[in-house]
Symmetry: C2
Subunit: 724 residues, 2 copies
């Protein structure tokens, strides 16, 4: 089921011509009754076949004893049966060429090993017959476009449906999903699809995203995610979604579950999975929702059909206090409440009272706004004409303007004359915060979003999305990877389970064109002297042993060794210390290296995440990584843009750009290294468990890997877990 047109097999699930309800019942307290009723009440546009050998009729629909007895072939079966009957019923579905099934029952993988086995058997049966399953252990599915209410949850069946229906929603938590569905509907936004994926036996979160991506009725794909089983697929889908300007907005929960893991490398221990998710979303252009309200507000803003061209935001208020608060909020979320040009200010000053303020936020004052609500129009006109302004919003709005009010019509007319993003938000008070014209505004591309839905946070996410989308559109082609070097053969060195010595790891870097220090391995003191003379004094001496990755802990490293005598002395001490530190360590010898001059130390690393596969990390060395955790991640392979974004995202990147009068370092050199590491990881991602280049020393011109360590996987494993 992993074919290219995989999503087409979900068609019978969302748009079945015929639906059978297994376990349908006349008893009004039974789920099998509620399910039939839900389909009827919501006006499902296909045929409904209740299946029950002991009933003739349920709610006016003829019953059938068996799936084999229905007048037409069944596309979709809803399983209103207990867990113990699921396997047998699924087998029957298969025999009767059913194409899709929704299994509500719990008692599968979520209860432990026994349930897991049971679930695997379901998977086998489904595979044999080609049945797409949603669930088990789910709340069901809804398609509000055709009335398919494939659920008996009262939270879904009894919510009124709104006109605005272009947002699909997928959830890994049934209860939270239902709450979000209701909250969205209460705020005028009905999801076109609601999909509770449950245990994802053969239909995963990303499979449903793929379906929605190809569905013309869906403008936004939203979801609640606890853990994506196939991030590489999600990455590809996100790319396609960006091409189609169909945003994916996901609330990823479980930040508190993520923690640093035990790992040999810095990279490994810094890669708490939540930060990888965060950076993965940035990399792919997926919008990360902080909470359910972001999904609603973002959707409302996006459905206006306007994308902000930038982050310059003008606020029109009738309360100084509200204006300042909204400006604070804009700043908190990275939007820019810009200073207006003299010209624009003058235009505004002319049309507002003398005691009102024409600086941004523009304060009409309560007194003026109440007696002269038409004051809301003229500053808007001036801002529409202002080239610097990307976004305009109102923190108050005349409550009495209904859709027939000439001022509202004028307002809409002005808004329609521009493609700037314009919206209205008000302070959230029960029964007092929705202007009479709210619907008319929304219909005309001017969203109204009450303040409790956090519209400014969502706005900042839309501005980020817009930036990413526009950046994406500028490219002619969309490389999946910017490959800067060909595959080298280093397989021999990558022995399963090995921790490579510095020199072994450095040889691999060499093979991928990553500059390393001049070095030679010495077995004897004489050899060390000879190498040192060749390299040129001063030199560095270090133990070379796969068993001693942290050489300074073993006191087995000597810097600034200046002459032959010092080399002999250092050679003997290093050997002695290493043996004392770890008597059984395998020692390759003592590495003699050139002594590098000072530069900016950075760290480039790779860790192989259970879900994401190889992930590349960048940070500045020392305290920046350790104290401030100032690192950025990208899932491999990298594009050049990814590499540049990684650098840009570091707070400490200002140091790379030159601080306190120092010259900037070779940033292009860092980009090249990241792309070379990406190439290495593309070729040997299954072998490399962890890699730290630490430090990578960066100069004004040039970079050098001063040390490296590499851990090879125990055995060659698939890096991502294939779903279903």
């Amino acid at each position: 089921m992993r074919g290219k047109e995989n999503y087409l097999s979900l068609e019978p699930l969302f748009n079945p011509r015929t639906v059978a309800v297994l376990g349908a019942s006349e008893n009004k307290n039974k789920l099998g009754y509620l399910q039939v009723k839900a389909l009827l009440n919501n006006g499902f546009n296909g045929e409904i076949y209740p299946i029950n050998p002991n009933s003739e009729m349920i709610e006016g629909l003829p019953c059938y004893p068996n799936l084999a007895d229905t007048p037409k072939q069944v596309d979709l079966v809803l399983f209103c049966v207990s867990a113990d009957k699921v396997k047998k019923c699924l087998e029957e579905c298969g025999i009767n060429k059913v194409k899709a099934a929704v299994i509500f029952a719990s008692g599968f993988s979520e209860i432990g090993e026994d349930g897991q086995k049971e679930q695997e058997q379901l998977n086998k049966i489904a595979k044999k017959h080609g049945v797409r399953i949603i669930g088990p252990n789910c709340v069901g599915i809804v398609n509000t476009m055709n009335g398919l209410m494939g659920t008996f949850s009262p939270g879904l069946t009894h919510v009124p449906v709104n006109e605005q229906r272009e947002v699909g929603f997928i959830t890994q938590s049934g209860a939270f999903g239902v709450l979000t569905y209701i909250a969205a509907a209460q705020n005028g936004l009905t999801f076109n699809y609601f999909v509770s994926v449950g245990n994802e036996v053969n239909t995963q979160f990303s499979d449903v995203i793929e379906y929605m991506l190809h569905d013309d009725q869906t403008s936004i794909i939203s979801g609640y995610l606890e853990g994506e089983k196939n991030p590489q697929k999600l990455r590809l889908l996100a790319e396609q979604a960006l091409e189609r300007n169909k945003p994916i907005i996901i609330m990823k929960s479980g930040r508190s579950l993520a923690g640093s893991r035990a790992a040999a490398s810095h990279t490994g221990s810094l890669a708490g999975s939540d930060q990888i998710y965060d950076d993965f979303f940035k990399q792919t252009g997926i919008v990360r929702a902080e909470d359910y309200d972001d999904i609603i507000s973002f959707s409302k803003l996006f459905l206006s059909g306007r994308l902000p061209k930038g982050k310059n935001t003008a606020i029109i208020t009738s309360s100084g206090g509200r204006g300042i608060n909204e400006a604070d909020r804009c700043e908190r979320y990275g939007l820019n409440v810009h200073s207006l040009s003299q010209d624009t200010k003058q235009k505004i000053q002319k049309v507002i009272p003398p005691f009102a303020s024409a600086t941004n936020p523009i304060d009409l004052t309560a007194a003026a706004a109440i007696t002269h609500p038409e004051l809301f129009l003229a500053p808007l006109q001036a801002l529409v004409e202002d080239a610097d302004t990307d976004i305009i919003f109102f923190s108050e709005f005349p409550m009495e303007w209904d859709e027939n009010h000439p001022s509202l019509q004028k307002f809409i007319e002005i808004c329609k004359s521009t493609d700037k993003l314009i919206f209205v938000t008000t302070f959230p008070l029960e029964g007092m915060s929705v202007p009479k014209g709210a619907n008319a505004l929304t219909k005309n591309g001017i969203p109204f979003i009450p303040g409790n839905l956090n519209p400014i946070r969502a706005l900042s996410k839309l501005a980020d999305y817009s930036e990413k989308y526009l950046q994406h559109m500028q490219k002619q082609e969309l490389p999946k990877e910017d490959r800067v070097i060909n595959k080298a053969n280093v397989k021999d060195v990558l022995n399963p389970g090995a921790t490579l010595s510095e020199s072994e790891a450095s040889n691999i870097l060499d093979a991928y064109g990553i500059p390393t220090v001049k070095r030679s391995l010495a077995i004897t003191a004489d050899e060390a002297v000879q190498h040192a003379k060749q390299i040129g004094f001063p030199v560095v001496l270090k133990i070379d042993s796969p068993d001693i990755p942290h050489k300074s802990d073993a006191n087995a490293i000597r810097l600034n060794v200046r002459n032959e005598q010092e080399v002999r002395h250092a050679f003997s001490e290093i050997n002695k210390n290493a043996k004392w530190y770890k008597p059984n360590a395998k020692i390759n010898g003592v590495a003699v290296q050139e002594m590098l001059r000072d530069g900016v130390e950075i760290i480039v690393g790779v860790t192989n995440d259970t879900y994401f596969g190889p992930v590349i990390m960048l940070g500045l060395g020392g305290v920046f990584v350790e104290v401030f955790k100032d690192v950025s991640f990208r899932v491999s392979p990298l594009t050049r843009q990814d590499a540049m974004d990684m650098i840009e995202e570091l707070k400490s990147s200002v140091i790379l750009k030159g601080i306190r009068g120092r010259a900037p370092v070779d940033i292009e050199g860092i980009v090249e290294i990241l792309l070379k590491v990406s190439a290495l990881v593309s070729d040997y991602g299954e072998e490399i468990k962890e890699l730290d280049i630490n430090p990578l020393i960066v100069y004004e011109k040039g970079v050098v890997a001063a040390d490296a360590m590499l851990v090879v996987h125990e055995r060659q494993s698939k890096t991502t877990i294939a779903g279903g």
Copy 2:
């Protein structure tokens, strides 16, 4: 009016026996009518005198032509007159011994210079007659305990009053204040006092705090602040509030207005006033509300009468998704969703279904919770008995339990058996989120707070407040300052407007017991050599000039000067470079200093803030300050606790405590330096405009100021602006 018992003069404002309405009217559209009606409708418990020479009766109350004609002396006058009449009316109030007035009219300092003058005249008149004024340019005042509705704002007059009335509220924004008042009332919390302070002509924000501090009916003082005119007073009040366990919670807006200012010192340029406010609030124990909802949620939690003993938080949920989200939220706000002990887990596991989860968040599962709501009881009991748990909250709650339900009674009984903080919050859905037993819970000290009011953020603020309060209570005495050194006479050096040279500044530090480098000033090369020999090689040579504060910019500093010859060479070069850099600079000579060994570089500074007066800053040197802005501020003078908090607040303090196996530095030494700087600033705060000790080098044992610069104020000015 700045006396000790200043707040007593506000008594007639909040508890007048007689209130006159100037400009009272029979015309139902006039403010003078609405004001009279508001007093009547809200059952004001004193006498109401409408003043109007042309009316006999308004709403059944006899009218009086003049203030002089009322049957009893008037305590409070409400000014329903336009701005142009205010002055004359205030004069009349004075003549008639009126004690307090509320002036609504705008058209004063907020409109500019003319208004400012007008307002100053009001201030004079009030001073002459001893009239306390609220306003002008305000919405008015409300005392919901005695029915004093001193406002005609429909947002206040028409809001139903709840039973819970122990929170006072003061606002610098009328409109935002009214919205907050309504939102609180809609959520079951009516403010006992509402005070819109307007232009604060002679009653400031902090004056009203002082009144509430001494008011027994007020348990919490809350407010909306744009800028406090008298922070030193607020600091003293905050101290007293902490002693009384009467929290002050303030929403301070205008983060976006704050910016870095042009200043000669690092300290000055880093002191954006918003960070000073933030740190000032931490210093004083004032709770900073992010938004109006924090005020409501914090109050509801605090009014339960329970303070959390720590931050260990247990969550009981019936939805895995909701549980994870709340745990995420706890983590985001610094609370700890702790691992439960084996013992507690076993107790819980015994009483919940096998497929439910006994790990924190405890997930009862929807299926179980709906069919067996009594499941909410047993885990609660186990958590109440768990010594590690400080806070317990429910993210779902049985909606059907009303106050007579035996399970609710049992629930309340368990809660009453403990002093742990327990509360209930639910997902915010219109009409679906308030359990039937919500009021019964609240009455019994178990707050119910809907999710849209951000209860977890408020909870974290309560936990911080609790920590501060308990810390405060442990102290026997409450020093205002921990004075570690006596006043020294350095006044001669502090010439108005001067920028002191390093040696001049260092002499001042010496006088205050702050270790500085061994140094001598040399006028000739011979002297330099002599000094260097005395100090001991290697030495540092630097230009000493008040006109060259940044010596490295002038290339007028030489490190590691190792012998006589090098001294002579350095001396000549430094002089040459300094003259080239600034030909007219006044040059005192070349300072010869001991070459300090490496240590951790920190920066200690002072800036004189317009409102806060002298403010002391601490940060780690270099990029920590410049890139990460990792600094902390405290308003002078400091207590030892303040100094320790400053260190603790720095992210980079981990470096001070020893990182990568290094020994910790002399943290007690840093505390001493901060206290000595505090002493200096206590003695010469009006003279010192800016001071940077940068770097202060800290060793395992000992600290040394390696460089210093000090800017003296142009003229001796009061450091704080005295209000009204």
